[in-house]
């Protein structure tokens, strides 16, 4: 109680000596006595000051005590102020007071008995102050109730022994579909799976002061909700806060599932890689040996049975040997192509101009034939030097090969720049190709010319494509039959530039 706050007592009487007499009786530390000599003044004071008790003379000119009381009782703000009527005539007043029986009202008879007066005043004051305190506390409680009911979390009080819900906030409806009345006095256990129910019962028997747990709880429509509970265990009650973590659990689960899928895919990929490796291993090892035998035995026939052979048999044996050799080259190229697929690309700045010069130096006179090769300006790109060497080598070799039958073979190597990338090209004036088949150019073992016309295995451009794609670029070609071809490849521009 607010004992340090003084209480205000209003004494209303038209006679000053009456007021003085009451002051003598009631004067006490902590009591503040305010005087009013008529009804109007009394009402004014009550409106402006927080009054805890009024002692009201009944017989006053103009507005008597009952009239004043009636006005006070009809206003919400002043209705609760206790009133003690002071009157000389005992009989009449008893009858008149009837109308004020409700609420804190009492009466005193003049002449005033000091002890009775003080007793009545102090009782009414006490009651009034208690009531005020109660109202204040209720206001606070109402705020808390608002807070609690506004929470999206389930807040409740559960009997620690029976596990019945004693109190529960409004969140129970959106969360579980039950109204507060439906769930009150039912057991938490009745909404749980058996194993969760056992777990909660174990916690109940352990009787710790503070704990938390996660359980699944069935909503009214039999959906499962994951709730995270935080419990304070006090006086036989669980003061519980339960948060809906269903979404979080689902996300966790989905992430776990995705991770598991990913791991599965990686394992699959690794297995596929291993398989591929063992495949290329057996290709390289097992397919070569019979080829060598085909070659070797044809050779032995040629060497050891010379006298039995005519020209036609010579030619046919030559065909056998030639084809066996070609198959060896095909296997080599295919293996190289598959090795590329698994190779990691190391990126460094690569001076394409120097690289191209190196390719040309590595091609000997015979390779280059009579081709005139012109190199334009080639910007430095980022990539794997060994792989880009291979690209240039394949493209330039192709250009030399396919222009080799021209009177004056000419090859141009250059580059252009586009947004965010460099486009390099190798152009020749050779055999060219029909654009209708352009999509076949970069496929493995795809060829647009037969082997009689131009030798090859159909792997070179597939290798070029694989390398460039691994560098984040693109390859394409333009050409016309007998009017040459241009092969383009793009590389991302280095970010540092």
């Amino acid at each position: 109680m607010h004992s340090n706050e003084s209480t205000n007592i209003l004494i209303v009487d038209d006679k000053a000596n009456n007021i003085f007499a009451l002051e003598q009786i009631l004067s006490q530390p902590g009591r503040n006595i305010i005087r009013a000599t008529n009804g109007k003044e009394a009402l004014k004071t009550v409106l402006n000051t927080d009054i805890d008790l009024i002692i009201l003379d009944v017989m006053m000119p103009e507005m008597d005590g009952f009239e004043v009381a009636q006005i006070l009782k009809s206003h919400k703000r002043t209705r609760e102020i206790p009133i003690i009527f002071a009157s000389a005539e005992k009989k009449e007043q008893r009858f008149m007071i009837k109308g004020f029986e409700e609420g804190a009202v009492d009466y005193l008879y003049k002449p005033l008995d000091a002890a009775i007066t003080e007793a009545k005043v102090s009782v009414l004051l006490q009651l009034h102050l208690q009531k005020k305190e109660l109202i204040r506390k209720n206001l606070i409680l109402e705020k808390y109730a608002l807070l609690i009911n506004n929470s999206a979390d389930l807040i409740c009080i559960i009997n620690a022994r029976t596990l019945d819900f004693e109190e529960v906030n409004n969140a129970v409806f959106p969360m579980l579909g039950y109204t507060v009345d439906e769930i009150r006095n039912t057991s938490l256990l009745s909404y749980l799976e058996q194993d969760d129910s056992h777990a909660v019962q174990r916690l109940s028997s352990v009787n710790k002061e503070k704990f938390s747990f996660e359980i699944r709880i069935y909503s009214k429509d039999r959906a499962v909700k994951w709730l995270n509970w935080n419990i304070v265990n006090k006086d036989g009650c669980w003061f519980a806060n339960a948060r809906d973590i269903t979404q979080q659990k689902r996300s966790d689960w989905e992430i776990k599932q995705l991770n598991a899928d990913l791991e599965g895919n990686i394992a699959l990929l690794e297995a596929t890689n291993k398989e591929l490796e063992s495949f290329s291993y057996s290709v390289s090892h097992d397919l070569r040996a019979p080829l060598r035998s085909i070659n070797g035995y044809s050779r032995i026939i040629l060497e050891d049975h010379q006298t039995h052979l005519n020209e036609e048999l010579h030619r046919l044996l030559g065909k056998i040997q030639g084809n066996a050799s070609r198959m060896g080259v095909l296997i080599d190229n295919l293996l190289e192509f598959s090795r590329l697929g698994r190779r990691k690309v190391d990126k460094y700045p690569v001076n394409l101009a120097e690289l191209t010069q190196r390719v040309l130096n590595d091609l000997d006179e015979v390779d280059r034939g009579k081709a005139r090769i012109h190199i334009g300006s080639l910007p430095t790109a980022e990539g794997d030097p060994a792989l880009l060497y291979q690209v240039i080598m394949n493209l330039v070799s192709n250009a030399i090969k396919y222009s080799g039958k021209k009177e004056t073979p000419e090859i141009e190597i250059g580059a252009t720049e586009e947004e965010g990338k460099y486009i390099y090209f190798v152009k020749d004036n050779g055999a060219g190709f029909n654009m209708d088949y352009a999509h076949k150019l970069f496929g493995v073992f795809q060829r647009l010319h037969d082997n009689e016309e131009f030798e090859g295995t159909g792997v070179g451009l597939a290798i070029v494509q694989r390398i460039i794609v691994k560098h984040g670029g693109r390859v394409w070609a333009e050409g016309r039959p007998n009017e040459g071809a241009t092969f383009y490849f793009s590389l991302p521009r280095p970010v540092t530039e």
């Binding site: 390289s284 040996a289 060598r292 035998s293 044809s298 040997q321």
Partner: protein
């Protein structure tokens, strides 16, 4: 059994490859005594005088072991490993003569101490040249410590 005084041990599971290799050597005048063993197990028995070769004198070291990699039962790596990790045999030159040109095979062979790694060319003429050259080098030009 003519298993004594052997200069060349050819370990090769493919009989065609073996006969082509032998022919290549003979055609090029390398007439050293030679034994053809059909897998790694036989090779180990021979080199360490075990099993069918228990009567062989271990002090007679061959001048050259020609070894294929991929063979049934015991492969070339295992033979190489045992030869090179035994003090009695580690000085015998071992040349791998294989169809495999896989980087990891080459690397592993050298880690195990191979003296030379030769990929059998597919083309017979080249194969003959390679085998002959290899034979001449190891049997005529090379100096052995024993």
């Amino acid at each position: 059994m003519e298993s004594d005084n052997i200069d060349i041990v050819l370990v090769e599971d493919n009989p065609d490859d073996a006969s082509l290799a032998i022919r290549a050597l003979r055609k090029n005048g390398i007439n050293n005594s030679l034994i053809h063993l059909k897998d790694g197990e036989e090779a180990i028995d021979f080199i360490f005088c075990k099993g069918n070769y228990s009567h062989r004198s271990a002090s007679q070291l061959p001048k050259l072991i020609l070894l294929d990699l991929k063979m049934p039962k015991v492969d070339g790596f295992e033979v190489l490993k045992q030869v090179k990790s035994d003090a009695r045999t580690c000085r015998i030159p071992v040349v791998l003569l294989t169809s495999s040109n896989q980087d990891r095979d080459i690397l592993k062979s050298y880690q195990l101490g191979v003296n030379s790694y030769i990929v059998k060319p597919v083309e017979f003429e080249l194969f003959v040249k390679t085998v002959a050259g290899m034979g001449l080098y190891w049997l005529l030009m090379n100096q052995l410590p024993y």
